[in-house]
Symmetry: C2
Subunit: 538 residues, 2 copies
Amino acid sequence: MSSLEDFPLQLVTSYLDTSTIIALSVFFALLCACIIIGHLLEENRWANESIAALLLGLCAGAVVLLVKKGKSSQLLKFSEDLFFLYLLPPIIFNAGFQVKKKRFFKNFTTILLFGIFGTVISFCIISLGVFWLFRKIGVKHLNIKDHLAIGAILSATDSVCTLQVLSQDETPFLYSIVFGEGVVNDATSIVLFNSVQTLDFRNIDGLIALKLIGTFLYLFFSSTALGIVVGLLSAFIIKTLYFGRHSTDREVALMILMAYFSYMIAQFLNLSGILTVFFCGIVMSHYTWHNVTESSRITTKHAFATMSFIAETFIFLYVGMDALDIDKWRESKASAGTSAAVSSTLFALVLVGRAAFVFPIATILNCVQKRASSKIQFKEQFIIWWAGLMRGAVTIALSYNQFANSVRKSPESALMITSTIIVVLFSTVFCGSVTKPLIEAVMLRHRKPMASDVADNLSMEELRALLLENGDPSDSNNDQQAPRASNLRLLISHPTTTVHYFWRKFDDRFMRPVFGGRGFVPFVPGSPTGAADESSST
Amino acid sequence: MSSLEDFPLQLVTSYLDTSTIIALSVFFALLCACIIIGHLLEENRWANESIAALLLGLCAGAVVLLVKKGKSSQLLKFSEDLFFLYLLPPIIFNAGFQVKKKRFFKNFTTILLFGIFGTVISFCIISLGVFWLFRKIGVKHLNIKDHLAIGAILSATDSVCTLQVLSQDETPFLYSIVFGEGVVNDATSIVLFNSVQTLDFRNIDGLIALKLIGTFLYLFFSSTALGIVVGLLSAFIIKTLYFGRHSTDREVALMILMAYFSYMIAQFLNLSGILTVFFCGIVMSHYTWHNVTESSRITTKHAFATMSFIAETFIFLYVGMDALDIDKWRESKASAGTSAAVSSTLFALVLVGRAAFVFPIATILNCVQKRASSKIQFKEQFIIWWAGLMRGAVTIALSYNQFANSVRKSPESALMITSTIIVVLFSTVFCGSVTKPLIEAVMLRHRKPMASDVADNLSMEELRALLLENGDPSDSNNDQQAPRASNLRLLISHPTTTVHYFWRKFDDRFMRPVFGGRGFVPFVPGSPTGAADESSST
C-alpha cells in the first residue's frame, strides 16, 4: 500500500470535460424546444423557426449571463470551424439536393447576374458608403482593408432564413431567384472577402480588377466542376458496385460521405466549398438518387432535410446566444448612440446596396426579354429586394474572422463585430417576420397564376412542335444543315428551353446510360413523389 | 493608402485550419474506401468491414508516418471527447433501436449475470493476474490503482465488432446474449474504472465492496430509468403535438435530438450514458417509432443504422491510424521482447478471465433451468466465450485516460498503452476473422434448429392454453383468487414468458393509450417489415 501514499485522492467520476457536456445538454434541450415551438408556430405567419431559435438563443444567453454573473454569455465559443465545416455544408448540400432543377436552370442567367454582378455592386456601394459615412460618425481608425472587408461581409445574404420565408410551392419563381442568388452570392462574397485579404493594396493598378475577375471565374468554374465530378463519381460507384445487391445503409453512408468529401476537397484546394457541395447535391439528386433502393431514396430525402434543418436551427440558436458576447460589448467602449449610429448606417447601406442592383438588373433583363410573360414585374422586384436583406451566420463568421482574430485589438474592431451582430439580429427578426405577410399582401391579393411561372410549359410544347416541323435532328441525320440553322434560330428565340431540350437529349444518350438516373435503373413501383423526384421530370 | 503601410501582405485564402481540412478529407476518403471494400468483402467470411477499416487505418497511418518523416502517424489525435460524445452514442442508440426486444428481455437474466458478475470476475482475475505476472516480466513501477485500472480496461468487451461478426438472423440466441452482455458490460467496466479512480485505497475495509455494489446498482437503475423516461417523453411529445399534421423532418430531428439529449444528461449526472441511450433506443422503437409518419419510420430506421455504421467504421479506422502512435512507442523504451511478453500476458489474462465466468455461469444457469431445451449447450458456451474476446475503442479510450493523461509520464505507462493497442489490434483482427468460420464450423455443420431458439414460441402457446384453462384474468375478473394463484405458479415455472404476458397486458391497457405504439395510432398500410417492426410484435 505504500506506493499509494504519494497519490492524493481524486474524485474523478467522469473522463469528459464537464463544460462541454453542459453546453451540449443545453443546446440539445434548446434545439428540442425550438422544434416544438416551431411546430406550434407553423400556422403563424409572423414568426418562424429561425426567429424562434434566435429569440430563444437570446433568452438562453441572458440566463447564462445571469448565472455566470455577467462574465460571459457563451456556452460554446463561436467557432468558424464548427460553422464552416459542420453546419453550413449540410444546409447547402440539402438545398442543392432538393432544389427544383428545371426551374433553377431556367432562371440561371438571372441568378448569375444577381449573384455575381449584384453582389459586386452591393460590395462597392457598402464599401464606399462605409468609407464616406464612418468618418462623419467618428469611426476613424479603420483602414482600407477593413472598409472593403465590411463591404464583403455585409454583401453576404442569408440563404438559410430566405428558405424558411419563401415557399417553393407558392412562389416558385421568386424562390428560385432569391435562393439561387443566395448560393451564388455566398460564393461571390467569400471570394471578394478572400481577395480583399490577399490583394496587395500597395501596388494597385488596373490589373487588379482583371485579376479579381480571373480569380472569380476560376473559382466559380472549378468549384462547380469539382461538385459535378464528385456527384457523378458517386452515381457511377453506386451504379457499378451495388448492382444486384443493394444495401441501404451503405448507399446512404456513401452519399453523405461523398457529399461531405466534395466540400472538404474544395476547401482543401481553396475553392468555394459552398458552390461545390451545391452542385454535388444537384448531380446526386439527378443521377445517384435514382440508382439506390426505394428505402434509400426516402431515407436520403428526409435525412438530408433533417440534417439541414437541425444545422439551421442550431446556427440561429448559436447566433442568438452569441449576441450577448459581453466581452465584445465592453471592448468596443462605444456609447449606445455610436453603436446605434453605426448599426443603422450599416443597415441603411445594406438596403441601398441591394436596391442599387436588384431594380437596375431586373430592368435590363426586362428590356432584353421580349416576351411579356417572362418579364419580372415591379412587385416581384420589390420582393426580391426585400427577401434578400436578411444577413445571417456567414456575415457573423466573416466578421469574427476579420475583426476578432486580427492582430491589433482595437475598440473599433469590437464595435464592428457588435454592429454586425445588431444588423444580423435586426434584419433576421424584422425582415424575417415581415416578409411572409408582405408577400401575401403584395402577391396573393391579386390571385392569378404568375405569368413567369406558367410560361415555360407552353413554350416547351411550342418548341417541340417547331422542332418536329423542321425535322427532329435526332430522327433525320442525313439532312444536317437545315435543322442546325433552325436550332440556332430557336436557341436565340427560346434560349433556356432549347438548351434544356438539347441537354435532355445529351443526358438520355450519353449520361444516363453511364451514371444511371430516372428510367435507366429498374423501375421500383411506389416511388416517392417529392421535390427530388418531381424536379428531374421535364 | 498610407494606413496600409503597417500591414504586411498576407496570403490568407482560407479562414479554416488547413490541418483539420486535410485530416477530414483523408478520413472521408478512407471512409468511402472502407465502405466500398466492405461491400466487396461482403461474401468473404474471413474479413469484414471492421477488419478492413482497421487495416486501412494502419496503412494510412504508415503512409502519414512516411510523409511526416517519422514524426507522427496521427492526423487527428485520439480524443476521448470525440469518441464518447460523438461516436459511441449513435452506435449504442442504434443497437437499442434495432434490437429484437422480445428476445433481449427473454434472456435478460442471463445477460445481466454475464454482464455484471462476469465482468466483475474478469476484472478480478485480470487485476490479480497483472499484479502477479508483471513482476515476473519486469514491469515493477505500476501502483495498485494502475493494476486495478488495467483489470477494468481489459474487461470492456467490444460490442461493435461483435455486432458485425454475429448475425441476428442466423444465431439469434447467441447474438442477443453476446450483444446484450456487451452493453451491460460496457456500463459495468466503466463503473468499475470510475470506482477505481474514486475510491480511497488507504482506508480499505469491508465497506468498499458494499459501496461498489451500491454505486453500481444506483448507476444501473437510474441510467435505465433516465433512458426510459426520455424515450417516453419523446413518444408523448410526438403523439400529443403532432397529431393530425405530421412533419417528417421535425419528427426525425426530435427523435435524434432527444436520444442524444438523454446521453448528455446521463453524462452530466455522472450516470452511464451508454445504458441510458440504449434503453432510450428500446423505448423509442417500441412507442415513438409507431407515432410518426410512414416516411419517418423508414428514414429513422435507416438513418440511425447509417449513423451507427459510419461511427463504427470511423472508430476502427481511427484505432488503426492511432496504433502507429510513434511517440508512445518511443516513450515506452521497451524492447520488442518485453512488449510482446506484456501484450501476450494481457491477452492470455483476457482469455482466462472470460473463460472463468462464461463456463461457470452457464453451468449454474443450466442447473437452475429445468427444461432441456432452454439449456445453453457447450458449443454455444464456447462461442459466447470466443465472440466476447474482442477488445475495441472503449478499451483504448480508457487506457489513454488512465495512462496518457496521468501526471507522471513513465515508460511503463506508455508501455501499457502500446500493449493495449496490440491486444486490441490482435483480438479484433484475429478473433474477428476467425469467429464467423468458427461459428459455421461449430454450429451449422449439424444443421438443426437450435433448441433455445424455437423453444419460446411453443411455450408461449402453452402458456396461453394454460391461462385459458385457468380462466384468463382479463376475461373473468369476478374470480380473482384462483387465477392469481395459478399466475404465481406460472411465474415460477415459466418466468420470462409470464412476465412478458403481463407486461403486454399492462402495456396495452396503460402505456400505449398514453404514449402510442403499434395498434394505438392510425394504421398506415405497407408498414416496413424490419427489425424494429418485427420486434414489437407478440
